[in-house]
Symmetry: C2
Subunit: 605 residues, 2 copies
């Protein structure tokens, strides 16, 4: 391909709306073009990268026993009604009506379609297990697309589905897909991708992993323990807090109310109302009373999406709520609560003590008010909390004494420096990451909901177990760019580079140089090498900045000086120090060697 004919514009300026490097470089390099919010067209360089990633994925999924299929993009709503997700998934599921009035959806994932495909085929145990995959366009009507190809509305995804008659068999396939994913990411140039335990979210099921590229450009938070290797995404990471240290006691009123503190044998402080005029936030409270956030019992108020009923979650003041844990516990979606006059809640002054006493008998299913306690509060004493009337707090809150029948669960986000749930050290670090793939053990969620059963050898009917396995192709391409670029452009791994060789003809107005470069272009193409050939009559600056933006790993430069020496210069995009002059008659050989070496370096063992 001649660069002069390559469609797409390359430019120097970073577009103003780009928050990550891959987005900026892929626009600047003519890889893609904006169509609508979160929707792009791919230009030839990105299309070529995509095809190569898809080919790697096909090879590895086939090797893992996968069979390629293709589902429709447009699916009947009835599939999603069967599984229950037509109602449970929010407006990212695009719903519409066709010309005959039939409700349809745009597939954002294909578990339902997968079950429908093999519901009859999988009626007998002897046909299990089976694994199939597709590479197809998906549409997810994201509220906030961002970061170019990292979070889009329309994307190409490889999604795979497996069906099993036993948990062991599902786990074996899950491990096989885990390995296939490691190979895929390594071959695509991202051996540094790690898998982390994750929350299954709207997919359902028991166990899942996300494959993460750690990078500040990522939008996911990953909890890591460098000490023992524990890895989880923020949604799934357990939060462990220390045994509570004693809080403060109000100096006034330490009289009859004192009891023994179980842990320390110190007398427990009395629950004491204190005036805190205009003090609404934890920060204000800490400043006002001269305490730390960890000495506060914070109330975080949510409302259920379904009916706007309230959920009040008490948590230690220095911790944040992990909303995924909350929605998993509730089994439904919530949003931040808006506290109205009729709610019986006193915004800024909500506490478990009086609230707990006063509303406990009304709480639960009947009134719709749910009160939850994070386990960071368990056994804590001497805390400060709201007094459930304006401008007053309590000091001396002791959970066991004041909330005797509270039950405690994990609702908190893990924190930097927090306690590792595996090795127990204060070693947790939080990193940003891009999720480039995920695998799920779905169990029988979909087979049960959609009445897919098989008959075993004894004639008994069972629901098969399912796994599902996804990789976003465009996001993977962007992640490679994010991980491998410099200020001038992407540095593509040879395995997914749009072309293998970028041939620059410096001074193409020099007929002899041009002829030599033409001959080399022909020779390399005949040898099966993918060459992008720049024979434009432009300055070296323009030529090299375009080459940098296109990021092709092997660069050959034909110039008047080289020609006199009967040589061509070969240099690597990723390592410009690795430059050498090669006699013209050795070039094909040396280029092939270099391609092989670069490819081999990315080959997993």
């Amino acid at each position: 391909m001649k660069l002069a004919n390559l469609i797409g514009d390359r430019f120097r300026e970073t577009p103003s709306d780009c928050v990550v490097e891959s987005h900026a470089l892929m626009l600047r390099g003519g890889y893609m073009k904006y169509v609508a919010n979160g929707i792009y067209s791919s230009l030839p360089p990105l299309c070529r990268i995509t095809r190569k990633i898809e080919q790697i994925i096909r090879e590895e999924m086939d090797a893992a026993g996968g069979q390629e299929v293709q589902f429709p993009v447009v699916l009947p709503a009835s599939y999603w009604q069967e599984s229950g997700r037509y109602d449970s998934v929010g407006s990212e599921l695009l719903r519409f009506t066709d010309r005959n009035g039939s409700p349809m959806v745009l597939g954002m994932t294909h578990e339902e379609a997968a079950v429908a495909l093999v519901r009859e085929y999988g009626a007998t145990y002897s046909r299990y297990p089976f694994l199939f995959y597709q590479i197809q366009t998906k549409f997810r009507d994201e509220a906030r697309p961002r970061a170019g190809l990292i979070r889009v509305r329309e994307f190409t995804m490889k999604d795979a589905y497996s069906f099993h008659t036993s948990q062991e068999d599902l786990e074996a396939c899950y491990r096989r897909c885990h390995s296939a994913y490691e190979r895929i990411f390594a071959r695509a140039g991202l051996p540094e991708v790690i898998s982390v335990a994750s929350d299954s979210g709207m997919m359902g099921g028991n166990l899942s992993h996300e494959f993460m590229l750690l990078t500040p450009a990522g939008e996911d938070s990953i909890v890591l323990c460098p000490s023992c290797g524990y890895r989880a995404n923020m949604e799934a990471a357990e939060c462990i807090t220390e045994a509570p240290s004693e809080g403060i006691c109000a100096s006034e009123g330490r009289t009859d109310g004192h009891t023994e503190c179980a842990a320390s044998s110190l007398p427990l402080p009395a629950l004491t109302e204190v005036s805190t005029p205009g003090v609404h936030t934890i920060d204000e409270l800490c400043a006002f009373l001269g305490i730390t956030a960890a000495q506060c019992c914070k109330a975080v108020v949510y409302q259920r999406n379904r009916d706007d009923s309230y959920v009040v979650l008490f948590i230690r003041g220095d911790l944040d709520v992990n909303e995924t844990k909350l929605t998993n516990r509730l089994g439904e979606e919530v949003h931040p609560g808006e506290i109205t006059e009729g709610s019986g809640l006193q915004a800024g002054f909500i506490g478990p003590a009086a609230l707990y006493a006063g509303l406990r008998k009304n709480s639960g299913e009947n009134t719709g008010l749910t009160i939850l306690f994070d386990r960071s509060l368990k056994g804590a004493t001497g805390l400060v909390c709201g007094a459930n009337r304006a401008d007053f707090h309590y000091t001396g809150l002791c959970m066991e004494r004041d909330c005797p029948d509270a039950s405690y669960e994990d609702f908190a986000k893990a924190q930097e420096g927090g306690i590792c749930p595996v090795c127990g050290r204060h070693s947790l670090t939080i990193s940003r990451g891009i999720e480039v793939g995920n695998i799920f053990q779905l169990g029988t969620k979909y087979s049960k909901a959609m009445h897919m059963q098989y008959v075993d050898a004894d004639g008994a009917a069972h629901y098969p177990l399912m796994g599902c396995y996804g990789i976003g192709i465009g996001r993977l391409a962007a992640s490679v760019c994010e991980a491998h670029h410099d200020e001038y452009g992407p540095i593509w791994p040879i395995t997914i580079s749009p072309w293998q060789v970028h041939l620059c003809c410096m001074r193409s107005d020099n007929a002899e140089v041009h002829a030599m470069a033409d001959a080399l272009y022909d020779e390399l193409q005949r040898a099966g090498v993918e060459v992008l050939y720049d024979d434009r009559n432009v300055s070296a600056g323009v030529m090299f900045s375009d080459a940098d933006l296109l990021g092709i790993p092997i660069r050959l430069i034909a110039s008047p000086r080289n020609r006199k020496e009967g040589c061509v210069e070969m240099t690597l995009r990723g390592n410009k120090a690795d430059t050498c002059k090669i006699p013209a008659d050795e070039i094909v050989l040396r280029v092939r060697e270099k391609i092989s070496a670069l490819t081999a370096a990315l080959q997993p063992e």
Copy 2:
């Protein structure tokens, strides 16, 4: 791949809703599964066929200078509003609103997206010409999907777009794509596909061709002249009729009204009202008056979709209206007219004479009534037509005399045995065909509508010319099946067959035979041959009927008898007489030779 693991059911019975063979065979063979009306999932055999067709298309489009891109499936409605097609295209364009209330469409073709992609890139003449293509899912909300993959709502299409600064350049690219298409169809196993001149329909533009597979299963009608090679689809085929022979004269009333007939010098018959009680149709009229349909002047009534205004088209009674010609003439869509009391039209008795006289002054834009004349009527004399009052007709209608300022155009369908517009012989035949591809010279329709301009060497701005070029991948696969099958299943060409070799192990319960077949399976796979291996312990009947349904061209049979002879039997799916025994140690060689020979036979010169 082992057949025992291949997902999908094969079965013997033809599903009741199948009207064409390819539909039945592709369901029966486990190629695809119904999802919704006109929407299917592809199972692995079809997916493999599809991938191979796509690869052939990529190679030929690349060779023609095409660059692969990818457009979104979901497009902003604004693109289609710019081109004007948001309003002009009917409900097959699926329109919906995203979560932010933005109007979107599902891409059914991508001219608008193509212009938007290169509107800035193509701002300078020096960047022309360029040709790019995508292979992508499209959705067209067909009113009546039918015939399996022949007419679906969701389909995969290769669509290409070219941009030019001159008509000559467009024509050169058009010819190159025409050749590429011939190569694609030949390599995919359909060298018999022909190109026919076609109507450009909703695409706009001047010149277009459809690539047709002639088969009774097709839904298009193609007009062919075996004598001179003229080919056009029915929509585009010119209809030529003979110079009119004289019609009948009413025997009564031949008095003053007689004038000379220009052609024959015979006296013209007088226009005479005759009573035709209850005679509404041409057939009834012919029977009643003892005349032929060719002696009638038929009125066909339409209404414009836009405002329901009437269009009355007069045409010779033995001809049918080509509605494409009519809508092209009007520049808008029409539907069959419903004649109401207030219309001034007398259903069943409409004629040009009195109607013409009475309504002519009101016709045209003002009243909305349009009166058109097919050229089959030009110069005709002695016709019978309606008298524009119930139960009466005229005889003796002479067009020149009675409709002196009528103008005549071609609105008629070509007929079997009709006159070839090129060689003039009465040689036309009408065949059914499936349209597997099309190419269009679009001119400046889209560049003008969407304000895409380039600046030429002199600084003057122009609209570029466009071409577009489509192939439906699934329809092509179904067409190959339609053209190449027997009663037992498809007979796939080697180039697109899901696998190259079908290896049958007869009596897999015989350990020695099974071991030999296993070894052969491994050896062939190591040699890079695509093998589907059936080692199920099933009867020969089941094994061979499955093999026939899967249609793989080369079949190898390992059996106890063959094993004793140290041989394997090789047979061809398409020619069972071509059977031979091959010594075990020659098999890889002989299979490779056969693959090469079968491939070479499909290679265009």
